[in-house]
Symmetry: C2
Subunit: 280 residues, 2 copies
Amino acid sequence: MELIGENRAFGGRHLRYTHKAETTQCDMTFAIFLPPFASKDKPVPVLYWLSGLTCTDQNFMQKAGAMKLAAELGMAIVAPDTSPRGEGVPDDEEGAYDFGLGAGFYVNATQSPWNTHYNMYSYIVDELPALIENEFPVTKERAISGHSMGGHGALVIGMRNPNKFVSVSAFSPIANPCDCPWGRKALGRYLGDDKEAWKEYDASLLLASKTHNIPLLVEQGTKDEFLHEQLKPQALVHAAQQSETQLTLNMHEGYDHSYFFIASFIEEHLEFHAGHMGLI
Amino acid sequence: MELIGENRAFGGRHLRYTHKAETTQCDMTFAIFLPPFASKDKPVPVLYWLSGLTCTDQNFMQKAGAMKLAAELGMAIVAPDTSPRGEGVPDDEEGAYDFGLGAGFYVNATQSPWNTHYNMYSYIVDELPALIENEFPVTKERAISGHSMGGHGALVIGMRNPNKFVSVSAFSPIANPCDCPWGRKALGRYLGDDKEAWKEYDASLLLASKTHNIPLLVEQGTKDEFLHEQLKPQALVHAAQQSETQLTLNMHEGYDHSYFFIASFIEEHLEFHAGHMGLI
């Protein structure tokens, strides 16, 4: 693991590392915010943040305005990259923003040539938390959140791994990827034509399939330019009704898909997760 | 004036505009944050934020984390661009980051070919506030702040125009540009070899020249990579002693030159300005 950046922030530290990842067979970059006073004697719980299409480990750290409250609460935040990268990692042939580099969709690909490197699901569920918990003064209390493609990732990973995450939240998630252009393109190419395989990566289908006990919180702006074609949060509401699962979806009048929206409500999500982590 | 971007944020609005500027003879872009409930009946005071080398109107808006408290205080924030831009605006011959585009240094250039467009001093002091006060629900209460090159700009503009600004603050300012490489390069090319002309744009020389009554607040990180060669905040301290001017310089152990530093302390600056604006 190699330190590639370090900034003091809100009395804590913002650090960037690269490390050789087994799951994705390449060097992966992640950022971590450690609140003040985090130490082996006083380890802190971790919120994992999954970013959206085109993002890196830095978008959330630089734009979300999350560090102030995380510092006060005593919560670490880990922001991984959104795909494998580097020499030998295949990209969309036309460099599309919605597939390949910057668009791993948090799945384990089964189709060639994607299946060697595009295993972001296992990277986020297993490899990264194991590394974080080995290297930093953190507990095994984990929560997960994300935006857009990362909101999809957070919902899917949280619902499939309630033993690993205490709570899950999302901003503007791709709520029903089996039924939108971004999702059909990505799942079709990473997982192949058999739509049975897609179901394990569709938050609405997972939510409908059984009652989930993991706390679920979703924010969505009404002026989000992707709301009707790509995001479809109502699919989550219907699925939650079907499975009798508790889900909070907050619609916000006039807000769009940008980090200005995330920044406006991130503190409510930190408090939601802090409550389930026992911090407040 | 043309609206080129709009986001809802913290119950208020983040807007971007371009307009034809007389002082700089080109289209200028700026961003404005309007807090909730700002209206003609309830106009709000304005903090002008001047950004540093290479920045645009967006760095502060996206990374400083200032909107939450500005929304609560009822303060507008205006972030102009850092230089003239566009077709016909000359740039450094080698595209250097520290001169020309993105590096206007908030001066009125006197030397050809810079003097046609590079008149950022007049743009910030006169033209932009006049436009803002004509177009938006704001009062004539103004404060000014900035970072690095913009910290230099804020200090110079604030001290030279205490009738126009109620308070001035800076993060990591270029405190004594007559005596550092960035400053000598920029002032030498924009203003010519006669160093008498430079003095009007040197915060430390202006501060030493007479007692100033405008409130002055400066933050500086001790691990700032530009501290010793370019920034030299001690020059401000000596100048303030010489002129018996009140100056607060806060040194912060371990902080660097990045927006993580600005974000960590921006709320203290908003409160400082809000106090002088009569908001708190």
